[in-house]
Amino acid sequence: MLELDGWEGPLDLLLDLARRQKVDLRRISILELVDQYLAYIEGAEALRLELAADYLVMAAWLAYLKSSLLLPKEEQEQPSPEEMALRLQLRLQRLAAMREAAARLMGRDRLGRDVFARGAPEGLAVDRKAQWQCGVYDLIAAYGQVKARSIPVVHRVAERKVMTLDSALTRLSAMLGLRLDWVELRDFLPEGVGEWADERLRRSALASSFVAALELAKQGKVELVQTHVFGPLTMRRIG
């Protein structure tokens, strides 16, 4: 009984059969090869179907090829059976070439089988060592923070001159009484001379005047306009 297990597909079987013709692959007889193949497949009675499908497809194609080759020329279709035969022959040549190449490749002196690398290489490595970075400021600041955590903390709120909301309200109302047109909020602030030269006091005045302006707007005494974010805030007395 014949088996197909030994073949890597129908092309492999065909190649083996072609080799049995003992001629150069370029000179094999395709008709003879077809007959050999069909005979072989017929002989393989116990075909396992899942294995055999490819072989049977090839058998059918070869049978068709054979009949085409035997038909009179004028009845042939495209592609011509000669072309089909040539194509098969080219495929067999390529498979044969690669099979031989594989054998020659495997027969070389192979590393780990015929030639050997160093059995116990020490290995090449780079030891990485950290180069620690720290500046003197970081060092002192760190000590300051440690101390700040442990030193008892006394909170002192420094007395500071401010413009209160009440005085801002009074001031703004009084000044608005004198003006009818649009005025920017900053123009209501005191001149930066004398005690008002203190930037912190000026900031306090600005904040209080702003809140006072909002309060007056809420009371319906003024209207406020600001054309864009952080733009000048202008105000006008109503009525």
Binding site: P10, E82, L95, M98, A101, G123, V126
Partner: protein
């Protein structure tokens, strides 16, 4: 023996992988200005020195390593474990990749005339002899495979040009796809010789004895 040669000899003995002259120069340059040219000269001198010894210095795909002399295989083989044998399918797939690279799985299958099991290419990838080398820009964008430096090292090849018989295979068109070969043959079929080839191949009745 000069310092560069000593350093290169020691580094390649210690290395667990073949190394390029550039990698050697980079590694050895940590302490002192070693140039690629110095390393290359040392490699040439060393490989001449080891000629004929039990150990040889060889270049494989631009990377250098020491290995035992091939003629001592019979002495050393019994001591070392035999590497796993490749299946026939894997062997053929490897040859096809090496001779045609880069190739897609479909192209491998076209040559072998049979489907390639998933595991076959996996075995080759795992061995480190082949790698995925991108995708073919055709419909489906199939992955294409190529060989690696480890492949050259394992099979003792300086480069792919040293693949057994590759020049002859290329010259005879056996590395061209069947379609290309067909076109060439048919396109030139005014040529009576080619007609002859076609006729012969189709002519089942008269093979030469």
């Amino acid at each position: 023996m000069d310092d560069v040669s000593r350093a290169v000899e020691a580094a390649l003995f210690a290395a667990s992988q073949p190394m390029t002259p550039q990698a050697l120069a980079t590694h050895l340059a940590h302490h002192g200005g070693m140039e690629g040219a110095d390393v290359r000269r040392a490699l040439r001198e060393l490989s001449a020195h080891y000629e004929g010894r039990g150990v040889q210095l060889v270049e494989r795909g631009g990377r250098w390593h020491f290995q035992t002399a091939p003629d001592l295989a019979h002495l050393l083989r019994p001591v070392h474990e035999e590497p796993r044998k490749l299946s026939r399918a894997a062997t053929e797939a490897l040859a096809i990749i090496a001779y045609h690279e880069p190739v897609s799985r479909a192209e491998i299958e076209a040559i072998r005339g049979v489907q390639t099991a998933k595991g076959t290419l996996d075995v080759l990838l795992e061995s480190g002899w082949i790698r995925m080398a991108g995708r073919r820009e055709v419909p489906g964008r199939p992955v294409i495979y190529a060989t690696t430096p480890a492949f050259l090292a394992h099979f003792g090849l300086n480069s792919r040009r040293d693949l057994p018989g590759i020049e002859e295979l290329r010259a005879t068109g056996l590395l061209d796809p069947v379609d290309t070969a067909m076109e060439a043959l048919m396109g030139a079929s005014d040529d009576p010789q080619v007609d002859q080839v076609i006729r012969q191949s189709a002519d089942g009745l008269a093979p030469e004895e």
